[in-house]
Amino acid sequence: GEKLVLSELLKPIKPKSALGSVKKELSRVKQKKAVELPLSKEEAKRVVREAAYVTTSKDVGKWQEVVLQNRRAEQLVFPLKQEIATVVPLEQVASAWKARTPLEQEIFGLLHRTKQPITDPLLTPEETASLQAMSLEEARQRRAELQKARALQSYYEAKARREKRIKSKKYHRVLKKSKRRKALKEFEQLHKSDPKAALAKLEELEQLRMQERMSLKHQNKGKWARSRAIIAKYDMEARKAMQEQLAKNKELMQKVQVELPEEEPADVPEDLPSLPIPTGASGANPWMLGKPSDPAQEPEVQEGPGDMEVSGAVERKEEMEEEEEEEEEMSEEEALLQDFEQKRQARQQRAGSPEEQGADETEAVLEQPGASPVHPVCAEGEQVSTAGGEEQPQQAQEEEILLSEQLERVQTLEDVEALASKEQVEEQEMLVAPRVEKPAATRAKKRVQQQEDSRAGDKHAKNPPAKKKKKKMISLQAVLSGKAQDVQCPTMPVVVEEEDGGTDQRRVITEAFAGDDVVADFRREKRKAEEESKPQPLSLVLPGWGEWGGTGLRPSARKTKKKDQHLPHVILSDKRNIHATAHQVSELPFPFERHQQFEQSIRTPLGSTWNTQRAFQKLTAPRVITRAGHIIQPISAEDL
């Protein structure tokens, strides 16, 4: 049989993991391997150094960004961190100090004896209180309030002044009326809420009336009234003023009938409107009354002298209308006032914007030679020349305003770009026009073409008539940048003729201008113009310098001949100036890569002669700014 080994008895049937690990350990021990020698002292140190160096240079490397940024910075202001100077309180400084020398001790002894504050609170309690009396916050608040009040005041003042300056009679009349109404309404309210106060007010009115009666101020006895009376015969205004005065007089003289509020409180509101003006006075003066009647007006008109002008009548009519309106609600009056305001604002705006003004001016200037004021609105249609040249200027102005508005609206509604492009085309044509008109023949042709164009419904053909009216659109910029499209223009009429003209017409035209070759003429002309426009080489050679002088001398051949005259394959440039080379840079300086860069850097001027103040400051800003008396600390992580 099999031999039993003792060790097998010890073995479990399944190998256990714990023992397995022990086994492994045993086997590992069996593999005999020499332990590595410890590093020599020198080498160990070296390893440590290398590791330390790597980490340290990594630590230091985090400054790279900052360093590069500072090197590239346009401007650096030092110290980088602005320190706020702190003032140590006097008490602290004084408390640390002690009297040492005999003199100091003597002085301090004296101070002690007289009980002067020496060390701790150098301020007496009253002084500290006065220091704390008004905080900065409070002072600021108060100042802000005052500022606001002042601003409001000035605003209201300005508003009042503005309103006072309005010259419109109508406006003032309406304003006055509205005021009167308001007063009435207020009185009504007062009557409702506080009958006693209302009564007092009435009394006041009565007092006023009595005073007037006593003074006879508003009768026609005063100096002013007498002078008016003389003028009144001829002057409508004076007459009206007098009438107004009389009305005032009458109003003040009127006895106010007081109804006791205790008796009929319900009726009061109904009666109130007629309160200050009793019905008995209705015949006297229509201006006085809250509710004028037409019969009352009639006699008034008859009263006036017969030489009334039409305009006066118109005004009167307006007034009548005005008074009819009064029957309507207050809101309408307000609306009217608002309307006034709006009109005024519109006028101000027009006056305020210089561009529009300028446009108006140019328009006026351009229209004058034509002697026919044309409305841009009807530019598309036929030319409308108004015969009435002596129209009132006011009316004309009104028309202009309206028209300009309309023009704008057209622009906004239609496609702006298309309009702009159209204008450009027209401008270019305009530019060409004077040159084209030179030969009389072309002018005639143009006229023919225009006739044809008017017949054809083509859009392009439509433009020329419209062009005249849009003269004001030409800007200086456009004129300067206008391309020379003139080559096409003289040929254009020919093309157009071929397009649509009848054969007989063409024949007629060719017969009429058989003699001249317009195109060639033009080309020659153009070449000439081009030559002229080029800068001419300046000959600085003068006769008489370095040789005999006198009249009728020609500069010698020595001066005029070029050095490379007899050297056909050589160009001797005389551009190089020996005197200038002393000031010139001979080789390209370091940071520049091409000479153009360098020239560019020289060409841009820095001075305030060529730059605006701001640009000048920017261009001449120093790279590094330091402040005298400020300690510049090394950069630190806290600064960033």
């Binding site: 140190k45 070296r46 440590v48 150094r49 290398e50 330390a52 160096y53 340290t56 240079s57 630590d59 230091v60 490397g61 400054w63 360093v67 500072n70 090197r71 650096l76 030092f78 040492r100 020398t101 002393a582 000031h583 010139q584 840079v585 001979s586 300086p589 360098f598 850097s601 020289i602 060409r603 001027p605 820095l606 001075g607 305030s608 002669t609 060529w610 730059n611 605006t612 103040q613 000048f616 400051q617 261009l619 001449t620 800003a621 120093p622 590094v624 330091t626 402040r627 005298a628 008396g629 400020h630 300690i631 510049i632 600390q633 090394p634 950069i635 630190s636």
Partner: protein, 430 residues
């Protein structure tokens, strides 16, 4: 309307009305360059009072008007700059005052001397009846040759045989950092990453340390020994080293294999260097009796200051408002210079300021034009320096020619072209 009249431009800027802009501006630039030279009077005053050569200086961190100086006879003086007066004199050490630095708060300052001591002094003068005594005195084992204070903490570093980092409260160093054995001439804390230190030793190397790990980081060996170094106060990883070989080297501490710039103009050993607080320029003091101002990104100086009586300049400082330069020299004087030679001191009217800015820009714009360049770059030099420059130019040219010839006559590639920057670096040790 007032607002309209105030903003109204009384000019027509149409270019057609103002022709010849370039020639006119050129003339203005020429005039500006001339005026700049006319008004270039940089020397302000000399502070005399030391009885031996000025060996070191320190700025007050909080006060612009105070500066401290230590002399070769162990005397420390505190100066009031506006008054140009010495306000306090201390006999601090026996022998040289090797180094001094002010505490970051400005209440006290430290000095090290040849008598192997580190002393802390109060910034304020002693009260009536008090003795002039240091707050603390630390007796060391070896001579300390330099000291610098941490920018934020109560920690300072000294150098000598090794770099020691001290806590202010203790009499023994927190840690000593060594890498080889040699006398270290200068140690400087980084003003931005304040745990970093740089030192230079007489075995021609510059070593960087990290205070947090208390270990050196890297060492770069140059052709000749570096006298001092200075960290850029605006760029954390940039420092400039003043070398014995007449040059200054600006390094990026992350790439020590070659310096960012070699600044060459001096004709003798450069003894000290200090950055402008703006970090855009630095000033160097040299054994050739002159100081020069270099832009950080330029290889040559923009300004050279010298006077007849100024001897070897040992120490130099740029004031904290970046307006003035102080230099201390062998012949016992401290001189105060304007950092910008032609700058007008005092308050400027706005128009004046605008004109100055405009002139400055004009000069910049036309700086490449020969006439203007000639005027703007003109500087007077004493004959000795002038001759030395000429001599050195010849030497450099000869060396260059020799190298060229050698390259020409040897196997291609066997004499490689070494750039000027790499030429002066011997090795970088990790």
């Amino acid at each position: 309307d007032v607002s309209v009249t105030l903003t109204a431009v009384p000019r027509n800027y149409d270019p057609a009305l103002h022709p010849f802009e370039v020639p006119r501006e050129y003339t203005r630039a020429l005039n500006a360059a001339k005026l700049e030279r006319v008004f270039a009077k940089p020397f302000l005053s000399s502070l005399d009072g030391h009885r031996d050569g000025v060996n070191c200086m320190a700025k007050h961190p909080k006060s612009l008007s105070t500066v401290l100086s230590g002399a070769c006879d162990g005397e420390v003086k505190i100066w009031n700059l506006p008054k140009r007066q010495c306000i306090r004199t201390i006999q601090a050490h026996e022998g040289f005052v090797r180094g001094m630095c002010a505490r970051f708060c400005g209440t006290s300052f430290f000095t090290v001397g040849d008598d192997k001591t580190v002393k802390q002094w109060k910034m304020e003068s002693p009260e009536y009846g008090e003795e002039e005594e240091p707050i603390h005195t630390i007796l060391g084992k070896t001579v300390y040759t330099g000291i610098d204070h941490h920018w934020k903490d109560a920690v300072f570093a000294t150098c000598g045989q090794q770099v020691d980092i001290w806590d202010e409260q203790r009499t023994s160093p927190m840690c000593s950092l060594t890498w080889g054995f040699d006398s270290i001439s200068s140690v400087k804390f980084n003003p931005i990453e304040t745990y970093l230190l740089g030192s230079c030793a007489s075995d021609r190397n510059i070593v960087l340390y990290d205070m947090r790990k208390s270990t050196p980081l890297k060492k770069v060996i140059l052709n000749m020994r570096t006298n001092t170094l200075c960290w850029n106060p605006m760029e954390a990883y940039v420092f400039t080293a003043a070398n014995e070989d007449y040059n200054l080297y600006t390094f990026d501490m992350r790439y020590l294999e070659s310096p960012m710039r070699v600044h060459m103009d001096h004709v003798s050993a450069v003894l000290d260097v200090d950055y402008s607080p703006t970090g855009k320029e630095f000033v160097s003091a040299s054994f050739d009796k002159s100081i020069r101002i270099f832009p950080v990104d330029k290889g040559h100086s923009r300004e050279v200051y010298h006077t007849k009586r100024m001897q070897h300049v040992i120490t130099v400082k740029w004031t904290a408002d970046s307006k003035y330069i102080l230099c201390g020299s062998d012949e016992m004087n401290i001189r105060l210079w304007k950092a910008n030679a032609s700058e007008k001191l005092g308050v400027l009217a706005p128009r004046e300021k605008a004109a100055m800015n405009y002139n400055q820009k004009l000069k910049e714009k036309f700086q490449y034009h020969p006439k203007i360049r000639r005027i703007a770059q003109h500087r007077h030099l004493p004959k000795s320096i002038f001759c030395q420059i000429k001599e050195q130019r010849i030497m450099r040219e000869a060396r260059r020619r020799k190298e060229l010839n050698r390259r020409k006559h040897s196997k291609p590639g066997s004499v490689p072209v070494v750039s000027e920057r790499r030429k002066h670096i011997v090795a970088v040790v990790k």
